[in-house]
Amino acid sequence: METALTLNHFLFVSGVLFAIGLAGVLVRRNLIVIFMCLELMLSAANLTLVAFSRFNVQEGQPDYHGHVLLFFIITVAAAEVAVGLAIIVALFRTKGTTDVSKIDTMKF
């Protein structure tokens, strides 16, 4: 029996990836792990873009517009990580922790 991969398979996997990332951001307490989960969410979006590009065939070619946005996302995510890790390191130096439940100087 032959089963071809369809668009829905890709969308399902990327949806699960996005949900795992979001759950990680909400549940985890360590800033570095939260940051990894955020990257997972971006990867989910990238997978969705590639899938939609691949299955939107025009004149025998995939629609490459999705790939263009994907490369921008990868580049921007790299910049975001560079800045983000620097801020997390600076916070670790002054407070000695990366646990989000201890970041509570400002309250209502």
Partner: protein, 492 residues
Amino acid sequence: MPVYSLEIIVVALGLVMLLVDAFVNLTDKRSIAWIGMLGLLVVFGLLFMVETPENTDSVFWKFYAPDDSYALFFKGIAVLTTLVVLIMGANFSKVVVEQTAAAAKGAHPQAGLGEFFALPMFTCAGLMWMASANNLVSIFVALETVTISFYVLVAYLRRNVGSLEAGVKYLILGALSTGFLVYGFAWLFGITGSMELPVIAEKLSSPDVNATASLFAFALILVALAFKVGAAPFHLWIPDVYQGSPTPITAFLSVASKAAGFIIFLRLSAPFLASGSLVGKVTFVLTIIAILTLLIGNLAAMPQKNFKRLLAYSSIAHAGFLVMALASSPVKGTANALTPATVITFYLGAYLLMTLLAFLVMAVVRSSTTSEDLDSYKGLAKRSPFLAFAMLISMASLAGIPLTAGFFGKFFVFKLAAEAHQWLLLGAGILGAAAGFYYYLKIAASMFLSDSDSPESEPIAIDGITRFAMIILIVAIFAAGINPNLIIGLLT
């Protein structure tokens, strides 16, 4: 001179400021801020003489909206805000130096100050580009240019725990909203097969569009945009980040970042609001968000003791009025000069004037009292009558008292909601505005009616350029409050 050259000039100016910081031996690094201010003044002048080339067929114009008076107006907002932020930054430089400089031998005593003036220039270029972006790719890249430079600016005081905590909170929630935004963009691309907003609008209004998938994409994008503009229930980062950031950056966030968020909001929600099959549900969701934001922002502002936190909740409340305008899209077939886009643009123009004035006064008072509590404003009228007067005008305008710009902002929003028969929304808006009167005028009363706790009675020193900026803002608030066509005329 073509439209897009303005962004290039601003980026070049930022680079020049960085190079001057690195290679010129300055005794006072505040002169870098003067370079930026002068350059931005020139750019503001150039805004009035730009033109779109006749031939707009090339690929570039698929990323950059040609010929758009709203985009130009928002560019003006970005440039003016950055200018005032640099003025405030120059006033604030003592605090920045104290809380960033490492006491290394042979280092410049003001090391680290130059970048504090150069970074807002890059933010400004991002904001200006965002105003013209009409493609999902350029919207994303412009938005991230702004957001990433804001991460650095918010966490700039790296010896101050509050600033770093604010930076981390902004970083995590900003990155989260970026995740939602790109996932929404991916779906929008999948549904319509295009990245260009005009094509997306066309595809979404055709009857054979997949409504469920479109609403899913809209929901994802809406979450991200609500984060950016600070609409409930995604407003939680605003009070903490505003309180922790350096004061000039708080002003930058609350004016420029919100204005840019709203022009993206306008552009991205327009295709959904124009689609016959989606408009009902989209308006319903926007109405819920507007009501929540109005109630939460205004009611939570009432018990605040810290002035920055109060302004943070006030900025949430104003986001509520703006989403309210967005949710009151006119019923089809009624011709009306006041579209939601015009009303939102006017409101943001007025909001710029009054919020920047409040922050300017706050930055000056903060430099002499080292406190941001509301109590430090007690008896300010006796100590520095001019500062108290400027603050009074700003508060009156934020509350929406007639003859000030804020009045017409709220008036137009309410008019729009009444014409769209959004009665529940109108009720929430009026309740919010009434609560606003209480907490804004409470500050005015404490400045004029009570006596100061502190023994100091010397007037607070204001330098010439700050005083000049305040006078300009006060005059502009009255001018727009007496004749709102001054601003609306710029849009047509």
